[in-house]
Symmetry: none
């Protein structure tokens, strides 16, 4: 297997000053992977001729493919062209076919080509030009040390167009026609700590394992990625087998794969049994409803809900007993339970989820610190009676994270209930009172 | 003027594989600028111990400040800690205070610390630990060659919290008080097209103008930034004067500055007049309530609301007349109006916002294409009677963008009503039927 690696350099003051997020590198790395080429680094540099030239020279010794975007424009601070010439130890010359093309591009609109644009049709003597179908900045192709170098415009639309029309094909030729494929599969889990996932998959996550298995964490979702490169069908087998193993090991916590979202999976589960859902939210203030309705077609299983942010709304709209709030607090298991049962019985839905908690930054007490969240899942049991699970959590993070994690955990409770015959497993962030012995 | 430069290294396979866009570098560069420190490069690397170690050594000879994020987690592929030790030529030792802290963090939730988490409390011998207030990964501080090195977690929330609580201050001490200052002020506007903002501010946005004025757009919020660098008070004068001009030109559409959010500003306006708010949402499904309750202390002015996703809920919970839905549709001005009036009268609140629309991807018709959204703002008028504004919009974008923009536009309506004596200006995305002449 020929192991080709690439480096990506993006140029522009707007990147290193923090004014603009670099999305070109991300997009290019994704494209390179489909050609079986791994990215060794992304490097963003300001419009600094010396720094760009130095980095081109150094990079050309480390990678076989060097992609550069940005700094090809007509203004004073577009210096990538000169920097490439410096790196190659060459002068810039006007490329006559490009000059003619650019002049006629202006003439078609009845304009004379501005003097400043002349720099855009210059190239280092050994380099060749790449046509830009969308703008005035042609690209450049050159080679130095081990590396084939492609310079593209920084404007994402022009860069992508040039990649698709020219660079991808040129790289395909360079890497050979039997180019290897790279396949990726994702398995998503919820309510399991990243460290626990790491333990369960320790052998698969060894750095030299094939396929390469890694994790990505966001709130209480841990996504496991299995990726392999190679040619032929063995790549597919490798990835499929790894995904199956990951799924088995994560058990009930694995809820979906690839493009699945937790809300999407839960909605499919509900639809499969013709069930309808309602929500009753306090500290999340509508976030759970918003997550559910992000999914197109949510109206098939979601009737709607209540945002009972105030105690008055909890009592008036969901029949939470005022004594419950007085004696146990608005943030209590009993309040959550009554919110869920109230929402269930009022709506005639099959499931109701209620959330009440302390998202902070204020409002915490010693007994109920910030992050304390009670979640109730109400449903109709086998005897046709309303029943419920109520769980207490202490969720880590700031206000945003606590709210996000509360909504995710609520969806996870419903998912586990539906997928596991009404039995909930241990969940991440669950509160376990310490028993004094 | 001592010219201090920084380098930023972000670590993670997910970055160089194109699975995730690196936003940490952007954010950190912006923060560094406020301290007068320029960023010389952003470098993203895979989870490769050797590559990380090599880059730390090389970078430490080029910049005076080296910020590193990512790779501090508890799994096999979190290698930044080891790489830093390699770069320093040191071993890793367990940091006892951090070990104790992490153990007790688990114990508080009644859990034993997983074995895998032990690596998170290790540090190179000469390094010190930085407390993480939000997660299990403490940061690291070390020095090598010319550079002060700070390693922070890759999770943006944890990284930002650690920056604010520790790193910014440590850098302030390091760079000394006489450093050149860079001052940035933001003015935020809502419901005005970016091109319109560009027209209104054309002279200020020239490239050579001082201060430098630029815009950043997100959904229907256009934020204008004025930035100047220098020493002494003239920097402040420049920026303050520019901000005042921007605010005047944008008029009623300018709603706040710097850390202000639209929801935060609206909640302050409501609190100032002792008013209470309720919401009634269909296509946004709770997103508006969620935006409002993101703001700490929202409970002072927000009672709660209804997510009436189904027609049944609109009729049962908010007294929308079934004939209205039959004759005009669930997505109509009349339905929005009745939702808002129903929410207002039932709750006794001072203001009610209702949203109903077609977020897509399906459900559009020729008369009401995807993106059609009706928003009603109900309030008690001077005669003590319920009254309302109802507006029709056609919002561009995909499902997520339409929902986001609908919620933002609803908040903007309330903001304009409160700030402009009940008179709403022209708004972005408003539907203007073409009149046949």
């Amino acid at each position: 297997m020929s192991h080709i690696t690439a480096g990506i350099i993006t140029v522009g003051d707007e990147l290193t000053s923090g004014d603009r997020v670099d999305t070109n590198s991300t997009w290019l790395s994704e494209q390179l992977l489909t050609l079986g080429i791994e990215t060794a680094f992304h490097l963003a540099l300001p419009d600094d001729r010396q720094a760009i030239a130095d980095s081109i020279v150094e990079s050309s010794k480390r990678v076989q493919v060097l992609l550069i975007t940005g700094g090809l424009g007509p203004t004073e601070d577009d210096l990538t062209r000169q920097a490439l010439a410096d790196a190659l130890g060459e002068d810039l010359v006007v490329d006559e076919p490009s000059h003619k093309w650019l002049r006629s591009r202006f003439e078609k609109r009845g304009l004379e080509m501005p003097r400043r644009n002349l720099q855009q049709v210059q190239r280092p003597t050994s380099a060749s030009m790449i046509l830009n179908a969308l703008g005035t900045a042609p690209g450049l192709r050159a080679s130095l040390n081990d590396a084939a170098i492609f310079v593209m415009p920084g404007v994402p639309g022009e860069m992508k167009s040039m990649w698709k029309r020219h660079v991808a094909e040129a790289l395909g030729e360079l890497t050979g026609t039997g180019a290897q494929r790279c396949l990726t599969t994702w398995i998503h889990s919820v309510s399991l700590a990243e460290s626990k996932v790491g333990e369960l998959l320790e052998d698969l996550m060894q750095r030299d394992a094939q396929p390469v298995v890694g994790t990505l964490v966001r709130d209480f979702i841990v996504s496991v990625r299995a990726r392999a490169a190679g040619s032929g069908t063995e790549v597919e087998d490798l990835v499929v087998t790894a995904a199956r193993t990951v799924k088995e090991r994560l058990g009930i916590y694995a809820f979906g794969s690839d493009d699945d979202t937790l809300a999407g999976v839960v909605l499919r589960q509900l639809a499969a049994q013709g069930a309808m859902l309602v929500t009753a939210e306090s500290c999340t203030g509508g976030l759970l409803g918003s997550m559910i309705t992000e999914v197109p077609g949510a109206s098939n299983v979601y009737l709607g809900g209540w945002v009972t942010y105030s105690n008055a709304f909890k009592a008036e709209l969901l029949d939470v007993a005022p004594e419950t709030i007085e004696q146990h607090g608005a943030v209590s298991g009993l309040t959550a339970d009554q919110m869920a049962i109230g929402a269930l019985t009022q709506s005639g839905a099959s499931f109701a989820i209620a959330i009440t908690g302390i998202a902070g930054p204020d409002g915490g007490t010693e007994a109920k610190p910030v992050g304390t969240v009670f979640i109730a899942l109400a449903f109709i049991d086998e005897d046709g009676e309303p029943s419920s699970h109520v769980r207490r959590f202490v969720l880590p993070g700031n206000r945003d994270m606590i709210r996000q994690r509360a909504a995710i955990t609520a969806l996870a409770m419903l998912h586990f209930h539906l997928a596991n015959d009404g039995i909930l497993p241990e969940m991440l962030g669950e509160y376990r009172p310490r028993v004094e012995v």
